[in-house]
């Protein structure tokens, strides 16, 4: 096709017109879209015809017994694992299956792992500073200046994660729960559109759980949040929409009440606990 014909074809966006870091297109509602995804490891089907849609600004909880494919699903979204078949879209413009991990991260998908890792010798403020989206090559980092707008951004996140009073304290003195919040704060510094949060309340006290619930619900609306959690009480306290995974596919979807009354769900998951 000649250049002229390409330009005359008006129903598509051309590569050279759409830079890789173009904004996520959420005009049609969903920010994340998984269709007919299949993954198998040595014959074991970890993900089996998975279909899942997350709307922009939504807070979604994903539950399911061990081996239901929750972590594998996260791995697919972040580009760590490639599915055998299916398609994964971020908004309606970005095909995540054609991108690598750093590109997906810079597109605005942040992931929090189960075990919090913060830099213990640095202060809470400095932890957030390092996580901030910036030019991370050697010389720009060496000559980086703390501009007022960066400071404001960090303080804003400090407010959100409720660690303002501990701003200049080393992260090493934080409690387990506070470290989890700091880790979420570090994710927020990268200005993600979609947050993937893996078991945020593991090992937390009741009180810390409550504050985590508050934090995650306050994020929804601005960011889309996907929470994978085992703790049913916690899920009940934050969930508007719950998706139950079982053997690599969606077993049920709906509000917590709908889901917990679903006989299938009770059989495979809640039944085990009851």
């Amino acid at each position: 096709m000649s250049m002229f014909e390409q330009l005359a074809n008006r129903d598509r966006v051309f590569e050279f017109l759409a830079p890789a870091a173009s904004p996520v297109d959420v005009r049609h509602g969903p920010i994340l879209y998984l269709e007919d995804v299949n993954v198998s490891f040595d014959g074991f089907k970890a993900i089996n015809n998975l279909n899942l849609t997350i709307d922009d600004g939504e807070l979604r909880c994903i539950i399911g017994p061990n081996g239901a494919g929750k972590t594998t699903m996260m791995d697919i979204i972040t580009g760590k694992t490639r599915p055998d078949t299916g398609s994964v879209w971020f908004g309606s413009r970005h095909n995540l299956l054609t991108m690598n991990e750093p590109d997906i991260a810079s597109l605005g998908i942040g992931r929090k792992f189960q075990k919090p890792t913060v830099f213990e010798a640095l202060t809470v403020f400095e932890n957030l500073e390092l996580a901030m989206a910036a030019d991370k090559r050697i010389f720009p980092t060496l000559t980086a200046i703390m501009k007022p707008e960066y400071r404001d951004r960090i303080d804003e996140v400090l407010d959100m994660i409720k660690l303002k009073t501990l701003r200049d304290k080393p992260a090493g003195i934080l409690s387990h729960g506070q470290k989890q919040w700091l880790e979420i704060g570090m994710l927020l510094m990268q200005k993600p559109r979609l947050l993937l949060v893996d078991e945020p309340v593991a090992g937390m006290t009741e009180q810390e759980m409550e504050r985590t619930a508050e934090l995650l619900t306050s994020l929804a609306g601005k960011q889309s949040v996907v929470v994978v959690e085992h703790d049913m009480g916690f899920v009940r306290s934050i969930a508007r929409q719950v998706t139950v995974l079982h053997q690599g596919s969606v077993l049920a979807e709906g509000t917590m009440d709908q889901v917990s009354n679903d006989p299938e769900v009770i059989k495979v998951y809640l039944g085990e606990e009851a």
Binding site: T117, F119, L122, L142, I145
Partner: protein
């Protein structure tokens, strides 16, 4: 810590830098004054011998600062920094050898004595250019810097860290020592380079030159300290600490850990080279024993004694240990290594953060007594 100032000016805002530079400059002035203006027979007179001895301590202090930069802030325990020190020293030594000219024992206008002795007919290619001071001074930075660049590139790219890296650095300096012991290398074999006459036209044996070298070393230490402080107070310094404590996590945040390590390592090697270059004209000799693994380990002991990740701790440690060494080896030479070992054990057990940790503790105690700061802490 998170100043909005230009990164080069940032160090001067730190209280520790101000105190350090103040003490260092005062010491330089006082020693100079006591050396020049006190009568020879006065108790306060500082002899040329003492001036040179102090200059040697300052060289060691700069070397210790270089080691603290990579060990304290980046978590790379280099047991081979003596290699960079010695390379800088050899570059300077080669310049000083060429300066001897035809005043050597054999009177050859170009070839150093040891080459005439070995029946060499012409100067090896790598000795060319060392008759020019500017070339030699560039090589003082370049030789250790290049070695660190190649070595670091290979090691950090393969993600060699921790004790394995320490062992490799140890092997590096040991290999270089064996190589420099060989006469065929053209660096004077186990005798090394010595019998220097003058530097930049000044007679090395005159008291004025010795004082000049001492002051130059003091200035080099101040500059080296400021460079290191500028790095550790920059965002890059905080990234270094992040690499030290959680390397994988830092990588996950988007920083190229191996490049951070390489950058800091090369800077540190160059500083060590400068220390070596200033050391050689003051002690009057450079030989392969500077490459010995034992010396490199000793440097690490200075830093550990003084306190890691403070920079000024490294200076205190280097000066104190070497002063103790001077005293001990004079009084009872056989006991020195035992004394060093005992000192190391005692400090590790009772002062895990070294002497600098003790200073910080006292300062903190003072601050806690101050109601204003105490209130701030609880607020």
């Amino acid at each position: 810590m998170t100043s909005s100032q230009n990164w080069l000016f940032r160090p001067f805002q730190e209280r520790s830098t101000q105190i350090f530079l103040g003490v260092l400059i005062t010491a330089l002035i006082v020693v100079t004054f006591l050396h020049l203006f006190m009568p020879q027979d006065s108790a306060l007179h500082v002899s040329a011998y003492t001036v040179t001895l102090l200059g040697k301590y300052l060289c060691y202090a700069l070397l210790a600062v270089a080691v603290d930069l990579v060990w304290g802030y980046l978590g790379i325990l280099s047991l081979g920094h003596g290699a960079f020190f010695a390379l800088g020293g050899y570059a300077m030594g080669m310049y000083l050898m060429r300066q001897i000219g035809d005043r050597g024992t054999y009177g050859d206008p170009i070839l150093p004595d040891f080459m005439v002795f070995l029946n060499w007919q012409e100067l090896p290619w790598y000795w060319l250019g060392f008759d020019m001071a500017w070339f030699a001074f560039i090589m003082v930075l370049l030789a250790p810097g290049l070695l660190a660049l190649v070595f670091g590139f290979l090691a950090f790219r393969s993600r060699v860290t921790g004790v394995y890296l320490s062992i490799i650095t140890q092997a590096l300096t040991f290999a270089l020592m064996l190589a420099f012991f060989r006469n065929e290398m053209g660096f004077g074999g186990n005798n090394g380079l010595t019998d220097f006459r003058d530097i930049l036209g000044f007679n090395l044996r005159s008291d004025a030159t010795r004082l000049g070298l001492f002051i130059a070393t003091g200035i080099a230490l101040a500059l080296g300290y400021i460079i290191c402080r500028a790095i550790v107070t920059s965002k890059l310094g905080r990234v270094s600490v992040a690499c030290r404590d959680a390397e994988a996590r830092t990588r996950f945040l988007g920083y190229r850990v191996e490049r951070v390590q390489l950058f800091v390592f090369v800077i540190s090697a160059m500083l060590a080279g400068v220390a070596g270059a200033l050391y050689v004209p003051q002690v009057g000799i450079i030989n392969p024993s500077e490459f010995s693994p034992l010396f490199s380990i000793e440097i690490v002991v200075w830093v550990a004694l003084g306190g890691r990740a403070t920079l000024y701790g490294a200076v205190i440690g280097a000066i104190l240990v070497n002063y103790a060494k001077t005293v001990f080896t004079g009084v009872m030479p056989d006991a020195w290594l035992f004394a060093l070992g005992a000192l190391f054990v005692l400090v590790t057990v009772f002062l895990p953060k070294g002497i600098a940790g003790l200073l910080q503790k006292r300062k903190k105690a003072e601050n806690d007594d101050d109601p204003a700061t105490a209130q701030e802490a609880t607020a």
